[in-house]
């Protein structure tokens, strides 16, 4: 019963998306691909998707570049204030997103940067990076310290060891972190809605507007595709974890 409650809303959008009509009816009365056609060929929706995609890629890169070395340092190095720094790096998970959104909005207003993409990417990195740090820290548990020590004895420098020994062993964790940070950014609404402006809407922001005012049936098709994306990411992460 509990499982049904959890999974039903995610699945219900699938049959709806093949409905022909312009209004919501369940069960669908006819089968059609009209909603998908609207989504792919009506330029507005596709434009928003492409924008979200690039914002997601940028967020992923930035989260990895900042998050993986941070996780490495937190696990391997010993320094005062390590615990506090860990808590601090993970804190955006617990800070309400709306506060992060307002902060990014005010900060970029105060330094007078006019661009929109940069604030959104930085905001998304703030909330996605903790997930990279967590997965990378968990992955570090599987990296045998003796391998690093052995390469050190054989004369490898710290940087070389990190690139040649640690990073390859961390691969599954990094793949998981990359996929999650992309998905977090791709699905994120609040920051993109706060910082974005007319003419610069990511897919979720456009969906949010559409659901709020007039529920267009295209939403069902987009929802189905987003669900497929989430499912793909979940399965990919499960698969890389199993390889290990």
């Amino acid at each position: 019963m509990g499982y049904v409650f959890l999974i039903l809303p995610t699945l219900i959008v699938v049959p709806l998306s093949f409905n022909a009509g312009t209004e919501l009816s369940f069960p669908p009365t006819s089968f059609s691909l009209a909603q998908y056609r609207t989504y792919f060929f009506e330029s507005n929706w596709w434009e928003a998707t492409v924008l979200s995609f690039w914002v997601g890629i940028a967020t992923m890169m930035l989260s990895l570049v900042l998050g993986v070395p941070a996780a490495y340092a937190l696990v391997r190095a010993d320094f005062p204030g390590k615990k506090i720094l860990t808590l601090f790096l993970l804190s955006p998970i617990l800070v309400p997103v709306i506060v992060v959104a307002l902060g990014v909005y005010l900060y970029f207003a105060s330094i007078g940067i006019k661009g929109v993409a940069l604030p959104i990417v930085l905001g998304h990195t703030l909330i996605a990076m903790p997930f990279v740090v967590i997965t990378a820290m968990a992955g570090m548990q599987n990296v045998d310290r003796n391998l690093e020590v052995a390469s050190q004895i054989m004369g490898a420098g710290r940087l070389l060891i990190f690139y040649k020994v640690t990073l390859p062993l961390l691969r599954p964790a990094i793949v998981a972190g990359a996929l999650f940070s992309f998905l977090i950014s791709f699905d994120e609404v609040v920051i993109a809605y706060f910082v974005g402006r007319a003419g610069f809407s990511t897919l979720p922001v456009k969906m949010f507007g559409s659901i709020q005012w007039e529920i267009s049936p295209v939403i069902a098709a987009i929802s189905t595709l987003l669900t497929l994306l989430s499912l793909g990411v979940c399965l990919l992460v499960a698969a890389t974890a199993k390889d290990e």
Partner: protein, 257 residues
């Protein structure tokens, strides 16, 4: 480091300087009926949702903890998929299910029962919020259930305790730290809810995040918006502090990843 602190610092500064140092933002929101009502709303919705989530989540966690690791991994997909599904997809689905001409009301109508209002009110917000929160409470509860020594229950069984008695006297009390961690995690998530209230809630039945949005984008009073945000942050901070005191609380929020 800087990119973490700069946004929070901006909010704090904006709440105190406008442009000179002032506490007007805070005194204004404390005297505002709207703010007090919304603060009350936020606490009420969060507490109700967290409570209902625990009631819904505990049996699932219990069931998961009794499965073989293989079956558990499979069932966990049913939990993780909604967790990673966009909140917009979930909200949209609930509009389809709960709406005036939605699935539930269509069924009710076809068997001759009156339609019920499930959307654009408190009920809709609670249902949507609970659905969002269940995966968050599942993990801490499941961890504490899995961490129990099965010999305890077995010993009690040998000594003739009924299954209900074993659950009430052994399993449940031992899982309470997990329940507490899950409950606090649910609370801190709900405090900042924005999308669910905006889409499934009634007009005017707002939460603090919606108020921040209203002040920032409609009324353009950044000072007030920041004062509300700092209050929200303080509320969350209190809960996070409590979470740190619960056994296993801090590791709880990392498990979802």
């Amino acid at each position: 480091m800087a990119i973490f602190l700069a946004p929070l610092w901006s909010v704090l500064r904006q709440s105190l300087f406008d442009p000179n140092f002032t506490l007007n933002g805070y005194s204004e929101i404390i005297e505002s009926h709207l703010f007090i009502k919304i603060l009350y709303n936020t606490l009420q919705i969060s507490l109700t949702a967290a409570f209902v989530t625990l009631i819904v989540g505990y049996p699932i966690a219990y069931h998961l903890s009794r499965q073989s690791p293989r079956r558990r991994a499979l069932l966990l997909i049913l939990v993780m998929l909604p967790f990673w599904t966009s909140i917009l997809v979930k909200s949209y689905a609930f509009m389809v299910i709960l709406g005036q001409d939605g699935i539930i009301n269509t069924v009710l109508y076809s068997v001759g029962l009156p339609k019920i209002q499930l959307l654009y009110n408190r009920t809709g917000v609670i249902i949507g919020t609970v659905h969002f929160l269940v995966p968050f409470v599942l993990f801490p509860i499941m961890t504490s259930l899995l961490g129990q020594n099965p010999d305890l229950a077995r010993a009690a069984q040998i000594m003739g305790a009924s299954r209900l008695r074993i659950f009430l006297r052994i399993t449940l009390p031992l899982s309470l730290p997990g329940v507490a961690a899950g409950g606090l995690l649910a609370l801190v998530q709900t405090f900042g809810f924005f999308i669910t209230t905006a889409l499934l809630g009634g007009r005017g039945d707002l939460m603090m995040a919606n108020l921040i949005d209203l002040y920032t984008r409609e009324i353009l009073n950044w000072n007030l918006a920041s004062a509300v945000a700092v209050t929200l942050l303080a509320l969350s901070g209190g809960i996070i502090f409590a979470l740190g005191r619960v056994r296993g609380g801090m590791s709880a929020f990392g498990q979802a990843a």
